[in-house]
Symmetry: C2
Subunit: 243 residues, 2 copies
Amino acid sequence: MDETKEHLYPIKWLTKASAGDRVASELRMRIISGKIESGTILSENKLAADFAVSRSPVREALKTLAAENIIRLERMGAVVIGLTEKEIEEIYDVRLLIETFVFERLAQMNVNVLVNELSKILEMMKVAIKYQDADEFSYQDVLFHETIIRAIDHSYMLMIWNNLKPVMESFILLSMRVRIKEKYEDFTRIIKNHELYIEAIKTKDRTLMIKSLHKNFDDVQGKVEDLWRSQQLLVKGEEQEND
Amino acid sequence: MDETKEHLYPIKWLTKASAGDRVASELRMRIISGKIESGTILSENKLAADFAVSRSPVREALKTLAAENIIRLERMGAVVIGLTEKEIEEIYDVRLLIETFVFERLAQMNVNVLVNELSKILEMMKVAIKYQDADEFSYQDVLFHETIIRAIDHSYMLMIWNNLKPVMESFILLSMRVRIKEKYEDFTRIIKNHELYIEAIKTKDRTLMIKSLHKNFDDVQGKVEDLWRSQQLLVKGEEQEND
DNA sequence: TCAAGTATACTTGTATACAAGTATTATATC
DNA sequence: GATATAATACTTGTATACAAGTATACTTGA
């Protein structure tokens, strides 16, 4: 139906991905951006036609998105759930929960290697900002938190992260793309928060860690609504162009 | 290959399930029981032949089990991870984490309906014990905790639970089947713990809740190894019968 | 105009077919 | 005997085909 593929998801992140992954990534972005509205019923056949693939990868994608809680598989069609304010808060509940847990473990570990790794990622983030590369920045931002989680070698915490990651990634991606143009100064604050986070890990200062974690959330959460809306408008605009 | 289907997973729980779900459930039980050993490489074709279905439902099942972290999908074949002592501890870390979170929310809610629901489930558990029905007991036990989690209406906590549940269920199922024969007295203790749990929710007593939660874990965890071993022996025995 | 029943066009779940790629084994060459 | 190369038997990912079931629309009857 919609022949013009906008590719909301960065194409170069999909170099080695299967058709199923590609469909999932793109669909996820469209749902989270609001391009596909909450409540919409997705049909395997229509999606297959839209993405010019067979039903097999589409089914795979739908199963993935259902596990991520952004669609709901019903007897007839997949219903889009999407991300409302409530869901975003819930995601941050989970992040707060796991990252707090992770921190407790880190407090009993040697964190030299980790801190070094995080510093590197932070430098990357700075470079990304310098060149106004929102996608690269988002990638490094997500990687930052994943690196922390991976450090404690806890397969079930990682499992939770893996379920959360794609949605987080999409959300951050969309958010950063808007912000890097409109609210450039936000990024200095984000960087500062991450520096605080690293400091907290290095000094094993629990209160500092919680503080920087919450700051990070406030930073995102407070601005969620309007940013998200502007993104919606932006995408809707594109949509009209195509018709 | 192995034509004799042992049906480790209760068949009557699969009445309306798809072939994919059936394969996933049975495979999960075989992996967690140790019948399929950790490290084994599963082939889609072999599994399809084993379960007398096509590759489609098998692929679906493997994707599910990979999301549950008991197998790992690699370029060539799916590698069985299984449940070692480490994984079981990790699962309980997660349970402790989410149930603690849930409790905090419950403390700010009206819990009358929930407590009533839990009491009902507890009665069911008692009946199951009375008739030595390990499967029914396990079902109600899992339902008990799911009911608590559902009560706070938090879709992402539920998401975590949904990822954990099948593995938990299988593990409890196998564990209870052995215990109901060998260690009947365990069950009075389990019931008592659950009563404590309900009491904690009713009175919103955090310390009591944590205590009963930990007791529950100690109860399971301490006995995990030998129970699990005996289960392995039991299954291995069955295996030899077939050859 | 409305009700009931039938036909039609969709839906999912599963089986099968095929292509592209990878490991393994066998064969040929030194 | 060791090494390089070719043949084979596997692997996954995707497309397509089909069956069983469900909603929609249409027709028929009052």
